[in-house]
Amino acid sequence: MRFSGLRVLKEGLTGNRGWGPHWRDPAPKPAYDIVIIGGGGHGLATAFYLAKEHGLTNVAVLEKGYLGGGNVGRNTTIVRANYFLPGNSEFYSHSLKLWEGLENELNYNVMHSQRGVINLFHSDGQRDAAARRGNAMINQGDDAELLDREGVRRLLPYLDYDQARFPIYGALHHKRGGTARHDAVAWGFARGASARGVDLIQNCEVTGIDTSGGRVTGVQTSRGAIKARKVAIVTAGRSGQVAQMAGLRLPIESHILQAFVTEGLKPVIDNVVTFGMGHFYISQSDKGGLVFGGDLDFYPSYAQRGNLPTAEHVMEAGMTLMPMIGKARVLRSWGGIMDMTPDGSPIIDRTHIEGLYLDCGWCYGGFKAVPGSGFALAHLLATDRPHDSAAGFRLERFRDGQGLMDEEGTGAQHNTH
């Protein structure tokens, strides 16, 4: 069924009885051409683009729990293309272009809102780094604008320009950046993939990956064995565990990232604001909640919850930067499991096992990558060649040291990002 304002009107008049399921709930078939492990944003997007771009529909997405229940369902919904290292630049640029067409492509309102991302800087050195980033973005064909202190004041009058511990020198403004309704992204891709014939199978946990003679033959699941010519591991947060089923060790540690949302408030923050010095970023959802977060808790964890020191640090950062949010009340906090790679950049690649593919290591940047990652992995699965936009996301870069993508410059080794 096609969604539209007219349809909403018609259904409204007829008691909303006509809305069907957004996706089918098929039983798993014994075999597929391609099995995607993980029904999160990336897995669902991969399924969608396999069907749409490559006409491959004998595909199953196996999800341990419910669709979109991983990090795509618990993040701070920021969509941006403001990376500066080759490898990242072209990928996130491509992903953002996909975002810009997503509603029409999916016929699903994911509420992609290009309200602008504003990265503040607080010293001459940071300004120079921001300038390099901004120029790289424009080199890539994306948008960037360098704001001075007064320029920031015009956009964000509510920041503390006099007392903030780290004075506001200016900001890098990325107007095409913004937010989206995270759940809707997963649901939209799921609906699109399902409509094109892909089987989305929930409550189906993969318990083993079958290989023979160095090539993958299928998977064992809580709902029986499923044969497959190609298997893609798209289980950010759990990549290590799933890869282990195929005897792979990955350059990944799982860390927690906390995020927070406040009670609904009338519009007060119109952009995405990030405060690098204090590890704090914030935006306001369309429902009115302030959605914000900070840095990792900085210890490996699968608990999907954090501890107070990081939470407090995030709030303190908010108070020094924009003390007007003091009276907003934190309604919920949660923690996502981040696939942290040594250089803070992801992996979309084949493995030494023929027919086994990886899409992992998204660190805390996975949400905005959803369309780009799905598109690139679909291309790799369909053609066995990396898509141009994701050629830099090699698994081997750590071994050979070529094309490391350490955007933060904190070191291409674990526990520095």
């Binding site: 939470a311 919920r332 291409a412």
Partner: protein, 977 residues
């Protein structure tokens, strides 16, 4: 309406307050909600989505409707629960989410269009035209959504955070919690009792109950008196435990100054507590749940237990004719208490077919309320009885669908509750929070007697784990009234029946979500937004799950429940972030020359946590460049003085100190002679440069290392890790001496003469050659002199104990000025180092290798050192890596802004063509031109090439010549003097 007697309010005093500007009055002991009800204010707010009129629904922090805005100006506070706000004289409250007024709200039209605004409608529309989302649809949605509004001004009020430690944390001060505290206190345990209310007692405050043959509150008073007399027991009222964290850490929000008008200036509004407890008992009681039926959100409909609170605790009659509707015996108490208070009860409706009552009132067993009528306030309720439809004229309706144990905190560490068929509720699973017992109604025990017994039992278990002996127990007699709930979630019928009042989620919405295949609880929650409102679904969760279960043909147990996460009640950012405002966010580090620099009106800039002078303006200088150029000239032509104390200084001693340095530095230090210093490069194990600096040998087994200001902490941590983990057997002892020494650079042709005068000794090369160090004495003060240079001039760094720093700085500056020089700041320091091609973290930005920086000669081939293996990876040694070079403009444009990119002449300025980028640049007054450092693919092989520099952001296009990184005196003759 206020009853003529009863209640825990002080009738002897009146408290005046305003609601939407109307002057009203109540009594001490009232909450804002009870005072509003007493004043006959039925409508207190508008609903989130449909803007329907709403009244007070509960009597606690779970309130979904009665959210108001308090105060005005910067102190204005949105979304305050009227049910939790203690009344005080002069309180000003405004209703929310309505315009132009509470009674006439334009957006109530949403209610007419409800059929088009059902669950998830917005995912299906607003997609055309594409660009319209940002400028048309989204702004409209945002304006309509949200509840209260922030003031937009900085929060002016003080808040605080604190830590507390105890043996046993008791959460909840009802009968169970008090019993726990009493037993544990008597056993000598260190107890903290937190209660959300402003007086302990829990449900006993609201019930007509007896303990030990006397009114229950007498037992509460006696118990509190005994507890308050124990110095091992601490009672924290107005304190809600909001979260459970690892190893017995709890978060709790104390409302310190919210119940008074005139708060003494420094008194915090809230205090956020971090409580560490060896053991804990959760005695948080239970929350009543409603039943869904058509228009069950009308003002005047409230929870049956809440109605008892208003009746018994606040002496407020909810109406003139009240109907009571429930599916359990507990609801009957409401009818009983209403009658006792002389309130007319229109009827008692019990959905249980076999139900009976001995109360003298119209009783309807096996009946259900099908509809509430009355838009701005309840007028009548329709009932479906076995014998047909009945309509009762009522202006208030008490609803009870049963009680849900408040088990939220037991789920914060990922514990899942278990379903109880008999209680039709989820119960806490034992042991899901290490060290936590659960007692009383929180475990599904709903009698006072049972709560007291369960409290005593939980106390016993907790005391055992604490290794304390359990004191003798005398359990007082108490009520054992029945409960006998028979599940009823939603009454069948047409029209909209509300599950989530706060977010306007109806039974229809949940059923529709299920029909659209949002069948898992998480999908339903996210699709309908049920449970995401300020009340966090406290009242609505289970009902919604039950309706979903019904719609999907599962039972509630199989359907499950969404995860409870902290905080249990919403916590102001100002409380969790207390202390962060303004400069409080991070400590400020001041050098010993700080005051003097300010006196010389130097602008101070942040360097990490430090403050350093940017430049020292002199009269007549209008622009920083003028000062900077002068200061550079001082150093190049006379002598300059700069405070370099912020650089990290680490003292290394021990038998293996030299060997240790050989390990952490890429170059060799064991060969360094006593009294000499050497430049060193330190890499991370991953093969990239972490830091650089000079290290001096001041004794056979004694070295002093300097680090950059930025990396001081990281380097110290790294060295500690290496010594304790990688070479634990080596004898090397590390200590930071950064703070012990004030250190000043004295640089320039006249630096030697200046210091010879200061020290009264010969400093010729014979006495102290380049890269030499020696102990010195200044008027009895022992210090140290290093002949090192970050400016390329003849230069020294002189160190004295920090207490003499200010004095020495002042003196050095004076002597420098007398020689035509003076103090110089960060700007000049940066120019001086760029002229020499020296590095800072603009170049050591974490992605560069020694090879990139032209430091490969510092990588000793003859020894092992940290990172040696990783640094030898092919990718880190590729010729075409971006490597350090110098740049100078050769065309018309002289602009070389840092952050600009380099392209071959004629190439388009796009990523694919980028050859490199600029890291540092400055105008060199010495050379009279702009110079820069940057990185360029195969840089060193391209000296002399012309490149096109492009800075899109600042619209600079400059033709540059690639040159050596050292622009001045490459042979270093000036340095050697």
């Amino acid at each position: 309406m206020r009853l003529s007697k009863g209640g825990r309010i002080d009738r002897s005093r009146a408290v005046s307050f305003t609601f939407d500007g109307r002057a009203l009055s109540g009594h001490p002991g009232d909450t804002l909600a009870s005072a509003l009800l007493a004043s006959g204010q039925k409508v207190v707010g508008r609903s989130f989505k449909y803007h329907r009129p709403r009244g007070v629904f509960s009597a606690g922090s779970e309130e979904p409707n009665a959210l108001v805005t308090l105060g005005a100006g910067a102190r204005r506070e949105p979304n305050v629960r009227a049910t939790m706000q203690e009344l005080f004289d002069g309180l000003e409250a405004q209703s929310q989410n309505c315009w132009p007024s509470l009674d006439w709200d334009l957006l109530e039209v949403n209610d007419l269009f409800a059929d088009f605004l059902g669950a998830g409608f917005y995912y299906k529309t607003f997609m055309w035209p594409r660009k319209a989302w940002e400028w048309l649809y989204e702004p409209a949605i945002r304006r309509a959504a949200g509840l209260g509004a922030l003031s937009g001004q900085p929060d002016p009020e003080p808040n605080e955070k604190a830590f507390a430690h105890c043996d046993l944390l008791v959460i909840g001060g009802g009968p169970a919690g008090l019993m726990v505290a009493l037993q544990a206190g008597r056993a000598g345990a260190d107890v903290i009792l937190c209660d959300e209310d402003h007086e302990p007692g829990g449900r006993l405050l609201s019930e007509v109950e007896e303990i030990a043959g006397a009114p229950a509150m007498e037992w509460v008073a006696a118990t509190l008196a005994e507890l308050e007399a124990m110095d091992n027991v601490r009672i924290m009222i107005r304190t809600t435990v909001t979260g459970v964290y690892d190893q017995g850490t709890f978060g709790a929000l104390e409302r310190v100054g919210r119940h008074m008008k005139h708060r003494p200036g420094p008194l915090p509004l809230d205090c956020f507590w971090r409580i560490a407890a060896k053991a804990s008992v959760l005695a948080a009681g239970a929350l009543e749940r409603p039943v869904a039926f058509q228009d069950n959100d009308r003002p005047g409909v409230m929870l049956a237990g809440a109605m008892r609170s208003y009746l018994n605790r606040y002496a407020v009659a909810p109406g003139d004719a009240v109907t009571v509707f429930g599916n359990n015996d507990d609801a009957h108490r409401t009818a009983r208490d209403l009658l006792a208070a002389g309130v007319h009860v229109a009827g008692l409706v019990d959905s249980r077919p076999g139900a009976a009552t001995d109360l003298d009132l119209p009783f309807y067993a096996g009946a259900q309320v099908t509809r509430a009528s009355g838009r701005m306030g309840l007028e009548a309720v329709s009932i479906r009885t076995p014998s047909g439809e009945v309509k009762l004229q009522s202006d208030a309706l008490a609803v009870s669908g049963g009680w849900n144990p408040s088990l939220h905190l037991t789920c914060h560490l990922n514990g899942r509750p278990e379903w109880s068929e008999t209680l039709a509720a989820f119960l806490p699973r034992p042991g899901v929070v290490p060290g936590m017992q659960v007692a009383g109604a929180a475990t599904g025990i709903f009698t006072t007697a049972g709560c007291l017994a369960s409290g005593a039992e939980a106390a016993g278990k907790a005391l055992e784990t604490l290794g304390l002996s359990v004191p003798p127990l005398d359990l007082p007699q108490a009520g054992e009234q029945g409960y006998g709930v028979q599940p009823l979630w939603a009454v069948a019928g047409n029209g909209r029946a509300w599950l989530d009042l706060a977010n306007d989620v109806t039974v229809k919405d949940v059923r529709q979500a299920a029909s659209e295949n949002f069948r898992s609880v998480e999908h339903m929650k996210r699709y309908t937004t049920q449970g995401m409102a300020p009340d966090q679904g406290k009242i609505s969760n289970l009902g919604a799950m039950a309706v979903l279960a019904d719609a999907t043909g599962r039972d509630v147990a199989a359907t499950g429940i969404t995860t409870y996460r902290p905080p249990y009640v919403p916590v102001p950012i100002a409380a969790l972030g207390a202390g962060g405002k303004g400069k409080g966010f991070a400590p400020e580090r001041l050098t010993t020359s700080h005051a003097q620099s300010l006196a010389m009106s130097a602008p101070m800039i942040e360097a990490g946590l430090w403050y350093r002078p940017s430049y020292f303006p002199r009269t007549g200088e209008k622009h920083w460049r003028q000062s900077c150029d002068r200061e550079v000239a001082h150093v190049r032509e006379a002598v300059g003085v700069a405070d370099v104390s912020t650089l990290g200084k680490i003292d290394l001693q021990g038998r293996d100190a030299a060997r240790f340095l050989d390990l952490v530095y890429t170059n060799t230090f064991s060969t360094l002679k006593e009294g000499r210093a050497r430049y060193g490069v330190m890499l991370r194990e991953d093969g990239h440069v972490m830091d650089d600096g000079t290290t001096a040998r001041i004794g056979p087994e004694h070295f002093v290392m300097t680090t950059t200001t930025a990396a001081a902490g990281e380097v110290m941590g790294h060295l500690e890790f290496v010594s304790q983990v990688l070479v634990p057997g080596w004898d090397v002892r590390l200590i930071s001496v950064t703070e012990q020494w004030a250190q000043f650079a004295v640089a320039g042709p006249q630096s030697r003469a200046l210091l010879e005068e200061l020290l009264g000794r010969d400093l010729s090369d014979a006495a102290l050659s380049f890269m030499g160090t020696m102990p010195i004495e200044i008027g009895g003060v022992e210090g140290r002199l290093f002949r090192i240079s970050f400016s390329g001039e003849l230069a020294y760094e002189i160190a004295v104990p920090a207490r003499y720093g200010e004095s020495l700085f002042t003196r050095l500056v004076g002597m420098a000025e007398a020689r035509g020089g003076g103090a110089y700041g960060m700007e000049a320091l940066n120019v001086l180092r760029i002229e020499k091609g020296f590095l800072t973290h603009a170049e050591l930005h974490g992605r560069t290798t020694a090879f990139d920086l032209g430091l490969e000669r510092w990588m000793s081939p003859s020894k092992s050192f940290i990172c040696k293996a990783a640094a030898s990876r092919p990718g880190l040694l590729a010729e075409d890596r971006e490597r350090l070079i110098g740049l100078r403009p050769v065309g018309a444009s002289k602009m070389i802004p840092p952050g600009a990119f380099l392209f071959n002449e004629g190439d388009e300025a796009v990523r694919e063509n980028a050859q490199g980028y600029v890291t540092s640049s400055c105008y060199s007054p010495t050379l009279g031109e702009t110079i820069a450092l940057g990185f360029l693919k195969s840089g060193p092989e391209r000296i002399g090439e012309h490149l096109r520099l492009v800075d899109h952001l600042r619209e600079a296009v400059t033709i540059c010549e690639v040159c050596e990184t050292c622009f001045l005196d490459p042979e270093g003759e000036r340095t050697r003097g």
